[in-house]
């Protein structure tokens, strides 16, 4: 006879309650005190949300909260942006999923793909917020240009279509990343317009992508390959430039943005701009050259030692005088500059942490191969270090997103300040103040919570993969 397996004891719910809530006398006491308190608070919250709350102030001004004073007859730009970003989100997610599949294949593991629905489930707070917006929008009689339901459905549909990028064959994986980048830039420019110097970022992305991904296997000498790459990059730049010459479509620059759109975009723009600056600062702080190290350290420590609001004041009151007379820097440009300079110092510390976490053996291995220091940095150190700092960067982005509420104090009409506008209207002058504040808090919370969940997940995955 084999040994009898231990009897499986299924806990009844009473036992579970006892174990989880009344394990010993003080645990029981805490439960007895906390349970009614929680219940009461939940009751108050319920009453506020569903019975006493006067939500007309939010309902009527929903569009104002979303886009602020952004011109209403240009609203299609924002809708196009949502759709393009939806597609970009899908493509990026699909490509990431495909790349994960590739790695699993290499490691000989079975890969279970997480579907788009899983991602949406992870971001439930955001989904709930959008549902709340749709609920308010459905009772809004002001006649928006386009039904918000269609916009959300379109965005979801496009991200589903984009998600199919995981089906791309492996050698086209880079194309997926490239497409995501191009879509992000396009989505940005559909609002900001295709005029003037706006061709520069797109041509830079496309040019460097062409340089990196043009197939050169058929050429023999390194020199020819190099030449082909350079030609491809120049060609891409020329194509973009030509397109921009033909399509001269001015848009709405960020000076005219406001509302939640501005809140999201300023944080995104600032972190994107801060990244290269932060990277340089981190490298300078780690460098063996004392002058560089000193300057970088001073900058980082001074900026980290002062509150963001002082830098924003600096931007509002002084930055305008630090450029030659007549140079037009709008308040939003100056605020973005202040946020960028602020964030760069934090990004530098994050990147420095990533660089320090890398075992020195990596660098030494590069040196043993006789690689030049810049090559070691570019090919060996940075790719690994930057991968390791992704969760911290998301954390920094969340922090910046929350900090963008400080633009309220310097009078920029971002998400929080829309409240001020609403409560100056004759119908809502000083009424429903708590309701609008709660709505704004929910908005901030939904985005920050979704992102923090995502960053925790990334962190877990990176830890596992190491």
């Amino acid at each position: 006879m084999t040994a009898a397996s231990p009897p499986i004891h299924r806990e009844t719910w009473i036992e579970q309650v006892k174990k989880n809530l009344f394990r010993n006398w003080w645990s029981g006491l805490i439960t007895v005190v906390l349970l009614p308190t929680t219940g009461y608070l939940a009751y108050r919250a319920f009453k506020f949300f569903f019975i006493n709350g006067q939500w007309e102030a939010v309902q009527v001004n929903l569009t104002l909260f979303m886009q602020g004073t952004f011109a209403r007859d240009e609203q299609w730009r924002l809708i196009a942006q949502i759709l393009i970003f939806g597609l970009a989100f899908g493509v990026g997610l699909g490509t990431a999923s495909g790349a994960a599949h590739d790695r699993a294949d290499d490691a000989g593991l079975v890969f279970k793909r997480s579907s788009l629905a899983d991602t949406l489930k992870r971001m439930w707070s955001l989904v709930a917020f959008i549902a709340l917006l749709l609920f308010f929008a459905s009772t809004d009689e002001t006649g928006n240009l386009i039904n918000p339901y269609l916009v959300v459905a379109g965005g979801l549909g496009l991200s589903f279509v984009g998600y199919q990028a995981f089906r791309l064959p492996r050698r086209l994986r880079n194309l997926g990343w490239l497409l995501t980048m191009v879509l992000l830039v396009l989505g940005f420019q559909v609002v900001s317009g295709f005029d003037a110097e706006s061709w520069v970022p797109l041509s830079l992305i496309l040019g460097s992508a062409a340089y990196a991904s043009v197939p050169t296997e058929m050429f023999d000498t390194a020199a020819t390959r190099q030449a082909v790459k350079v030609l491809a990059a120049l060609g891409a730049v020329a194509v973009v430039f030509a397109i921009y010459r033909v399509v001269d479509a001015p848009g709405i620059g960020w000076d005219e943005w406001s509302g939640l759109h501005l809140t999201l975009m300023t944080s995104a723009i600032a972190i994107v701009l801060a990244f290269p600056l932060g990277l340089l600062l981190a490298l300078a702080r780690r460098s063996t050259l004392p002058a560089l190290r000193l300057m970088a350290t001073t900058y980082i420590e001074v900026i980290r030692g002062v509150p963001l609001i002082t830098l924003l004041f600096m931007g509002q009151f002084i930055l305008g005088f630090m450029v030659p007379a007549g140079t037009d820097l709008s308040d939003i440009t100056r605020a973005i500059a202040a946020m960028t300079l602020f964030t760069a110092a934090y990004v530098a510390e994050i990147v420095r942490g990533g660089l320090q976490s890398l075992p020195s053996g990596q660098t030494e291995a590069g040196q043993a191969l006789g690689l030049a220091p810049p090559t070691i940095m570019r090919r060996i150190v940075l790719p690994q270090a930057l991968r390791a700092v992704i969760p911290a960067m998301v954390g920094q982005f969340i922090s910046l997103f929350k900090d963008s509420s400080l633009l309220f104090i310097i009078g920029i009409t971002e998400f929080l300040r829309v409240r001020t506008l609403v409560h100056a209207q004759a119908a809502f002058r000083g009424v429903a103040i708590a309701e609008t504040l709660v709505f704004v808090a929910i908005g901030y919370w939904a985005f920050a919570f979704a992102m923090s969940r995502e960053s925790q997940r990334l962190e877990r995955r990176l830890r596992v993969s190491r």
Partner: protein, 402 residues
């Protein structure tokens, strides 16, 4: 890369010589930074001169011209630097009490998140996820509204008075504007008291050392805390009576016109809102740090404590927390730093801290550049002091560990 016998000819050309590149690179970087700074500052000076904006710091000695909220002692004719000092004081107070609140709540929440009680753990998680993901500015405005403006408290002239049992003195004066708590007043002979207390403190340190040495030598229980407390209490009592009872309790009460709190110590709603909001916000971050640090303490440590039959409290107090603290202290002090910086949002609740006062001052015609530079310098000083504390604490913790 060069061999010892390198001759002049064998050296690489100077543009490939690492030493030259290093020096040139540094000079180049310094020059570029200098040129940019120079350009910015010369523009600034040109523009300010062109627009006839003052570039001197004389305004610091001119009158403030406005009344500081909740500071009746402040004379609006006082110079601007005195106003700045009031701001520094208020920033310090909000930061100090915020840090205390954040530490206590953060510790509780961090431990509660790991509680075996499902409800406690769940509530702690909800707390963390709620507070962590809302901008502090929104929280401050929310607390100002929820607790005071729309809160349950009466208006100033109808304050609730919590009496000390069996007396007419108010222990607490509560309303929606400013709270009164008991304070202490002192008279002239107070110096004798402090002198005696100082002697007592020295004695207490000596007793502490003695008990420690005794413990190390003999292994008898040291009861250091009890001993030291005893010494301090004795010193306090001797000092108190020897100097003729220099202290008097001062109880808060409403003034005759019921518009002021006289006696005691007064805290205003802006201070309370910002301290509570920032304390709770920072506590959610500290809670996560504590939780992570507790989890980082090796599981074997807890098991060992269990094997020694320590109670849950003893396990935490003597085994887990001391080790977790070593990991938790540096990031926690960073959070303290963030809290102090976030007190700059006091303007949302009429709290007269440094930034709010500077902002009002600029709005009333004081030069922006100078005001902002001074303000940044003060915050920088706060940060440097906290960083200094962080370094000292770090060094001590490391000494303990090795």
């Amino acid at each position: 890369m060069t061999t010892p016998q390198t001759t002049e000819q064998a050296r690489p050309p100077f543009w490939r010589d690492i030493r030259v590149i290093r020096v040139a690179g540094q000079i180049g970087a310094v020059v570029v930074v200098f040129l940019i700074l120079n350009w910015l500052i010369s523009n600034l000076i040109n523009n300010m001169n062109r627009l006839n904006i003052s570039t001197s710091f004389d305004y610091l000695f001119g009158p403030t011209n406005f009344q500081i909220p909740y500071d009746p002692q402040f004379n609006p004719r006082s110079p601007v630097w005195e106003m700045t000092l009031v701001g520094v004081k208020n920033t310090f107070l909000a930061g100090f009490f915020g840090i205390i609140l954040a530490s206590i709540v953060g510790l509780i929440v961090g431990i509660a998140r790991l509680s075996e009680n499902w409800l406690v753990a769940r509530l702690a998680t909800v707390y963390v996820e709620f507070f962590r993901n809302i901008p502090p500015l929104v929280l401050i405005i929310f607390f100002g509204f929820a607790v005071f403006t729309f809160g349950p408290f009466p208006i100033l002239s109808e304050s609730w008075e919590v009496k000390a049992p069996g007396s007419d003195d108010n222990l607490l004066l509560i309303n929606n504007d400013r709270w009164g708590v008991p304070g202490v007043t002192q008279d002239g002979s107070v110096a004798i008291f402090w002198a005696i207390l100082a002697v007592g403190i020295v004695a207490a340190v000596l007793v502490w050392r003695w008990r420690t040495r005794n413990f190390d030598r003999t292994g008898q229980p040291h009861h250091r805390v009890l001993w030291v407390l005893g010494v301090l209490i004795i010193a306090f009592l001797i000092g108190f009576f020897a100097s003729g009872q220099p202290f008097d309790m001062s109880w808060p009460a409403l003034s005759e016109n019921r518009r002021q709190v006289v006696g005691g110590f007064e805290v205003n709603w802006g201070f309370l809102s910002i301290t509570i909001a920032l304390g709770l916000y920072t506590a959610s971050h500290i809670g996560e740090i504590i939780r992570g640090s507790i989890l980082a303490v090796h599981g074997g440590q807890s098991e060992a404590a269990n094997a020694l039959a320590l109670s849950a409290f003893q396990r935490y107090r003597f085994v887990v927390l001391p080790q977790a603290m070593r990991i938790a202290v540096p990031p926690t002090i960073n959070q303290f730093l963030n809290l102090v910086k976030n007190t700059s949002l006091g303007t949302a609740v009429s709290f007269a801290e440094l930034t709010a006062l500077t902002k009002t001052s600029i709005g009333n015609g004081r030069p922006a550049f100078q005001s902002i530079v001074i303000m940044m310098g003060i915050y920088l000083a706060f940060s440097l002091i906290i960083s200094l504390i962080l370094n000292i604490v770090n060094r001590r913790l490391q000494l303990v560990s090795r």
